[in-house]
């Protein structure tokens, strides 16, 4: 193995809102970047390269926006890469940035991901019908609702599990000053009383649509050693992809996710994820995806994930707090949502998660998925260097 040790030196994010009309795209990005660079205590001269990620260009109406953003990204005269892997892109972008350090090519890399849907019309962007493909015509919720129904049927999970997740994540979001939705008073009952959108997914079980950005500074071993209070060391990374549709595909528990998780735990030297991982930031855009991904990631046996959720073990103070930041259910700037999961995992092991800090967090998972549950990217970060 020739991988160089790589660490998260600092993170930053914007205040996420439905419409950030107070800033342009460069302004939005700089809000996250400036915070990440201050957190990492680095200046522009320290940055060797920039990696930008976002979901479809049609969401803002700009083709390859990294080109016009080069000035704002401080990238002039430097290498600039642009990643796009559907909803998992924020995670994949972090992994490309990590590979620039892991390969020994660079010492410090700035990575940033964003979405500013208020600049254009995302529903229009998603509604262009390609030939020869079945139109969904229902947005992401309508696409994923049958997967959730199938999960409930297969696992026999009781109906209120989704509401438990939604109430927990929104209450966690109330602890996060950057979250789009901060609902300290939400309850399982109030979630269950909210409007049904795509049976069985209710309004309060659905992610918002946000403008926002997330940035991180990654560095090599020497840079990680210099971080006051300790950096977040990358222990393992994994990415996997499978096609959207084919006969016999398991869309509830996709093999690409299972394969990525198996590779991740093997590289991190983790045999029992539930007991060895202290906190997980998992991409949960609709509440029921928490138990579904707990199983897909190997935290629970197939059909058993909902029991971990029901027992309260995924709340802050439980055995495996999931999305203490509030997760995608509280903030969803699509292209940045994956990087937020990765950076929130880093913040936990750096002890920088503020009011939603999980006590004694030493090992954390960051997870993202995209497309029709077909793109997966994930990392494990730790307070200690990997063995």
């Amino acid at each position: 193995m020739t991988k160089q040790l790589t660490a998260v030196l600092g993170t930053g994010q914007t205040h996420h809102r439905a419409k950030r009309t107070d800033v342009s795209m460069p302004g939005l990005l700089r809000e996250a970047i400036d915070r990440a660079m201050a957190d990492a205590q680095v200046d522009w001269a320290d940055i060797d390269a920039v990696v930008l990620g976002k979901a479809p260009d049609l969401f803002e109406g700009v083709m390859m926006p990294e080109l016009f953003l080069a000035d704002a990204l401080g990238a002039n005269g430097k290498p600039l890469l642009r990643v796009h892997t559907a909803g998992s892109v924020g995670g994949s972008t972090a992994l490309v940035a990590a590979s620039l350090v892991q390969s020994g090519v660079h010492r410090r890399v700035l990575t940033v991901a964003y979405e500013k849907q208020s600049e254009s019309n995302a529903m229009w962007g998603l509604s262009i019908l390609p030939p020869f493909q079945m139109p969904v015509g229902a947005g992401a919720g309508g696409y994923f609702a049958p997967h959730v129904r199938s999960y409930i049927r297969r696992s026999g999970a009781p109906e209120h599990i989704g509401a438990i997740v939604a109430a927990k994540d929104r209450r966690n979001g109330a602890l996060n000053p950057y979250a789009h939705l901060r609902q300290a008073d939400i309850t399982v009952e109030s979630v269950q009383a909210s409007q049904m959108l795509w049976d069985p997914i209710r309004y309060d079980e659905t992610c918002p649509s946000s403008d926002g950005a997330c940035a991180m500074v990654l560095g090599d071993e020497a840079a990680g050693d210099a971080v006051e209070g300790g950096a977040a060391w990358i222990h393992a990374t994994a990415m996997r992809t499978e096609p959207t549709t084919f006969a016999g595909r398991d869309q509830v528990n996709p093999q690409a996710g299972r394969d990525a998780a198996a590779a991740l735990w093997a590289e991190a030297g983790i045999k029992d994820p539930l007991s060895e991982v202290d906190v997980a930031e998992i991409y949960v855009p609709f509440s029921w995806f928490e138990p579904m991904w707990l199983e897909n990631l190997g935290f629970a046996a197939e059909g058993e994930g909902w029991k971990v959720t029901e027992a309260g073990e995924t709340a802050i103070g439980g055995q495996l707090p999931v999305n203490p930041s509030g997760g995608v259910l509280s903030s969803n700037p699509i292209g940045a949502s994956g990087m937020l999961r990765f950076s929130e995992a880093a913040k936990q092991v750096m002890g920088r998660a503020g009011d939603y800090q999980v006590d004694g967090a030493r090992v954390a998972l960051g997870h993202a998925y995209g497309g029709g549950s077909q793109y997966f990217s994930m990392w494990v970060v730790g307070a200690a260097k990997p063995r």
Partner: protein, 337 residues
């Protein structure tokens, strides 16, 4: 850190218009088969897949997802995608081999320029607040760049025609008799609009020796970007290419494949890379012969590598560009070792 080499290259026919869907993934299936036959590898031998393409070219969101079907990606694959020319996907794949994560990678780029009106589509790459609303198209921006060089005395219209005539039956004086397309550019100064795709197989040098007799060893690869503000940089030079070249050893290069969609841009690149008279430029015809968006840069690297595979070059430089007026540039050095 293992050294990396190019072990295989294939490209789709470069044509004005293909009959397939707007994302053009149909062009990939035959070239995947071709590169597997050429290298003796199969899908299962590939450790990492990486591609470059554009949603705006296809006119739809998530257009690259259809390419996963062209691969037949089951069992699931380790895969990534850049919204850039696939030359930058090759850079990402190079990192994965360098860091010891995989031994082999397959890189592909695809684009169907004919799906829209390319000149107008590319105007969407500009600053959306103050420049795109004016709809300056890509040929007109290149025309401004060419005009600045003419007025500075850096090149003449005859110099440009000579670039276009090289390696063809064309007569320079006849070319200069043709009308302007976008003053000062004539048709021969402008790359054709092309549908196309390309695929490159990368591997550790050790692995490449089993696949091809003369692997093209990737001894250096650098890329840089310049400011997007057209009025804030000297358009008659390419500072990003100059910086990338400085970080590389270009001494002894005998062949160059340059991604120059306009004749004057080839002159800018030759100067930025310091290429002398003895260097053979674009034996493939370059982007002026075929400019498949999002794979033309990767194809430059593939064309250079193929000439090393065939023993026609000992050391070659390949270049890819992206953005208006040579904003972003990648330079790779390939050697027979």
């Amino acid at each position: 850190m293992p050294d990396v080499a190019i072990a295989g290259f294939a490209q789709a026919p470069n044509v004005r218009e293909t009959p397939g869907t707007t994302n053009g993934v149909e062009m990939l299936v035959p070239i995947f088969a071709e590169v597997f036959e050429q290298t003796g590898l199969s899908k299962q031998d590939i450790g990492f897949w990486c591609s470059g393409s554009s949603d705006y070219l296809a006119g739809r969101a998530f257009s690259f997802i259809a390419a996963v079907d062209a691969i037949g990606a089951f069992p699931p694959i380790h895969e990534s995608h850049v919204e850039m020319d696939a030359a930058w996907a090759l850079y990402e794949a190079w990192l994965k081999i360098k860091m010891g994560e995989v031994e082999t990678a397959l890189v592909y780029g695809f684009g169907k320029s004919s799906a829209g009106e390319l000149r107008r589509v590319l105007a969407l790459q500009l600053d959306p607040y103050v420049v795109t609303p004016l709809w300056p198209d890509s040929v007109s921006i290149a025309g401004i760049q060419a005009r600045m060089g003419l007025e500075a005395g850096l090149w003449s219209e005859k110099d440009l025609a000579e670039v276009a005539a090289r390696g063809t039956e064309k007569d320079v004086s006849e070319l200069l008799d043709t009308p302007y397309f976008a003053d000062p550019l004539r048709r021969h100064d402008i790359a054709p609009i092309t549908d196309g795709a390309a695929v490159v197989i990368l591997s550790t040098v050790e692995r490449a020796r089993d696949i091809v007799e003369h692997p093209a060893v990737l001894t250096g690869i650098e890329h840089r970007v310049d400011s997007p503000v057209l009025g804030a940089r000297d358009l008659t030079r390419s500072p990003s290419t100059e910086i990338a070249a400085k970080a590389l050893d270009l001494d002894g290069v005998d062949l160059a494949e340059l991604h120059a969609p306009f004749t004057h841009q080839e002159l800018i690149l030759r100067s930025a890379l310091g290429l002398g008279e003895h260097v053979k430029i674009n034996p493939s015809g370059g982007a002026l012969a075929a400019n498949p968006m999002f794979s033309a840069g990767l194809a430059r690297i593939g064309e250079a590598a193929a000439r090393i595979h065939r023993g026609e070059s000992r050391k070659a430089v390949a270049h890819a560009t992206s953005g208006p007026a040579l904003q972003q540039n990648l330079v790779a050095v390939l050697e027979a070792r």
